[in-house]
Symmetry: C2
Subunit: 257 residues, 2 copies
């Protein structure tokens, strides 16, 4: 169940699979987000920008400096929300965006899973290698509690945390093999990323590579561009990955032939 208020105006649409898929795509393809936190000294809601990635279970992750207002705020009060979805061309409000209401959890330096999270984040944001290990930088997981999708005028939906997260039992096994699978695809099947991006996401040509693999899909990057290709269904075991990636490639090639 969602915690959304019961007395909200009745302009929300029934949340359907299309809305859920759009919400996941917005969140999983965000390079940065606008973050809202409570400023400790004043209590005011404070908006700022943060570099964004996702953990292997779909939880959004930010990399922030202790010297910033938002980091001090999150250490004082973990309530936060993030806004994903850039306005782009045309009417800024015609572009879909997603507000995720979340609870921030700082990732300890010695936490299990931090090494994988760090590698995954750096594949998405290679320039962050310059400062990720500075002592004042930290990762926070922004654990979703609910979300509000605005798909454009008159298209508002409320979502639950489960609509955004990856609940597959294969999450941990895939995390353990993620770096190896990414390296294998980008070296032995270097053409695959570009084929996925072109065929399934309508992208133009570019120097595409895979920067993330999890139980729900793959992250594709070409320079500044970041796109998310979600699988038709989450993998239920890690061993399915090879077959799914091969079938997607075969399907794209057949359709393009």
């Amino acid at each position: 169940m969602t915690d959304a208020p019961k007395d909200r105006p009745q302009v929300l649409r029934e949340t359907d699979d299309e809305a859920r898929a759009l919400a996941r795509r917005l969140l999983r393809s965000a390079r940065s987000c606008a973050l809202a936190v409570i400023e400790p000294e004043s209590g005011v809601p404070f908006a700022s920008r943060a570099l964004t990635g996702t953990d292997v279970d779909g939880t959004p992750v930010i990399l922030v400096s202790s010297l910033s207002v938002h980091t001090r705020a999150l250490r004082h009060d973990p309530r936060a929300s993030l806004l994903a979805g850039e306005p782009g061309k045309g009417d800024p409000l015609a572009h879909a965006r997603l507000t995720v209401v979340a609870r921030a959890e700082e990732v300890a330096r010695d936490a299990a899973g931090r090494a994988n999270l760090r590698e995954r984040f750096l594949r998405r944001h290679p320039k962050a290698k310059l400062y990720v290990d500075f002592p004042d930088f930290a990762f926070f997981r922004l654990v979703p509690e609910r979300a509000h999708l605005n798909g454009g005028f008159g298209r508002a939906y409320v979502l639950e945390a489960d609509d955004l997260l990856i609940r597959s039992p294969a999450v941990a096994a895939l995390a353990a093999m993620e770096q190896g699978a990414v390296d294998h695809m980008n070296s032995d099947h270097a053409e695959a990323a570009g084929i996925y991006a072109r065929h399934f996401l309508g992208e133009r040509d570019g120097d595409w590579s895979i920067c993330g693999i999890d139980a729900a899909g793959i992250d594709l990057a070409a320079g500044d561009r970041l796109r998310r290709l979600d699988f038709a269904a989450e993998l239920s075991e890690a061993g399915e990955l090879r077959g799914v990636l091969a079938r997607l490639l075969k399907q794209a090639r057949e359709n393009e032939a």
Copy 2:
């Protein structure tokens, strides 16, 4: 004096005129902003996107629907902040952005100045004509209290409200003549907007027009593009406008000759 906390980490730079000018430019050229408010039912900081303009005194203005979370929130608790500055290409954090901590004031339908504010907003956002007069839409002025500028890595500044607002005694007189002056420039000096955009803002050619004039500068629009040209100094009386616009045009033409 700013209300910023005294115990913040000492990584702020001394606020100089260059930082102030950048902050004003970010705020005055925003088409939309990320807004942070306190959600009434939950108390969580809630981030969303809102269509943005400025009033004639530099105060940021948003046009919002009563059916949205942020409007309900602002009517319940006027504390807010807005984030101006889009990430654009390359590293999202290399792009300057500005957080303005503000107090929201709803603009009453019969308020003095609302007609001018509405016209000014619609010149900036012509598509908003479709819904601006719907009964559930309202303007809010987000009166700045202080601001935080992040001009890219290691370039953080705190600003005061006065750094962002236009304090000229000519504000009201210019508001009264704004629509006429805009119409005059766009019809009798139709080439001026493009010359200003190209010469002073480095813009490429396009169908530029002037969409706002105030005591501190002019707003220029070409399709989706919006640029702000601030005057070297605020006008101290409305009668100076014609001479300033003519001198800028002359200067651009001489430099381009």
